[in-house]
Symmetry: C2
């Protein structure tokens, strides 16, 4: 859950402009953010333009929604902050990084509340090229690039992207298309196989 | 290329019924096949029903288009026969099966003539649930099941499906969405990383 999705503190009373903390304004801001991201892509979208389109003060927008990446996650209703996950996964023992990634991925997709949102995101990205490009921009800037620096091995970006392509391919086969026996296999059966692949990509040899 | 796509021998002259070898009849048969496969799925579609819908003799349909799997590949314009590939890949030294699979996959997707058709298939399957289910049925019956028998290791079907999910995920990321640096990486750079993953899935340990 991103901070933008948590209960908001009472907004300061102002006589002019809308209050970013209010439910109506929140909806207006997220709609403006979706439109701006869709029109200009993740990298070129600006918080200032979103604030202007939503009729709110740019400083208040930053105060209530945080930086561009947090607003993006809130606007697309992404149920996790991938940068937080990457940080946690890479912080531990590198010899077991594959296990941690596999465990996290399966937990995310097996829990109904996060699975439904992930399914919606995946289906939208698979059928809407604009959304796919938007996700690509966010992942490249906010996830792959910093994770590659943290990983610190040759071909780090390429390896991370291959790992992600395995995770998305698995999600498509297991949760969207329902390929059997993969779709019905217990998480405990899938986890070590996925872990081995991820370990191969992230161990750098 | 499937045999059904190769130049056809002259059709025998008949006074009644259509000639399956003629270009018009070939088109009629492939349209009837697509309709039957779409309506009933791969497993339940019948050659007899396709012959009836196309107005051709069932025996002649078998003679000119081969068995149901070959007609399926011709109807969906699949540029390879996956069962032939699987046979060749599994016939060699199992210690290098990952290299052979990676080499084949990259060759298939790097050559413009096969890449275009594979892209069209992938885009159609990604946006059309009926086609995705149809492909799933064909792959399960004609590829995964026989390949698992040939592979002969525990969890063989699960492992083959995980391998296929990596291949499809890679194709989406590299060729459809164009994730960088993966999209621009030389095949020689991607091949060993993919080979290692495939080897892990197919080596059974």
């Amino acid at each position: 859950m991103t901070s933008a999705e948590q209960p908001q503190p009472p907004a300061p009373r102002k006589k002019t402009g809308r209050r970013p903390g209010g439910a109506d304004t929140r909806r207006t801001v997220l709609e403006a953010a979706r439109a701006e991201f869709a029109a200009r892509g993740y990298e070129k979208a600006s918080m200032r333009a979103i604030a202007r389109a939503a009729g709110v003060d740019a400083a208040l927008l930053h105060h209530y929604f945080g930086s561009k990446d947090r607003l993006f996650l809130a606007a697309l209703e992404v149920p996790i902050d991938p940068r937080v996950v990457v940080g946690q996964v890479l912080a531990g023992d590198r010899a077991t990084v594959g296990e941690r990634v596999a465990g996290f991925v399966l937990q995310l997709w097996e829990q109904p509340e996060t699975r439904d949102r992930m399914l919606a995101l995946l289906r939208t990205a698979a059928t809407n090229e604009q959304v796919a490009l938007l996700m690509r921009g966010f992942m490249a800037t906010e996830v792959v690039a910093p994770a590659a620096v943290e990983l610190g091995i040759p071909q780090a970006e390429l390896r991370i992207e291959l790992m992600m392509s395995q995770i998305v391919g698995l999600a498509m086969a297991r949760y969207v298309i329902g390929v059997e026996p993969l779709a019905s296999a217990a998480p405990a059966e899938v986890a070590p196989l996925l872990a081995r692949t991820v370990q191969g990509y992230l161990s750098g040899n």
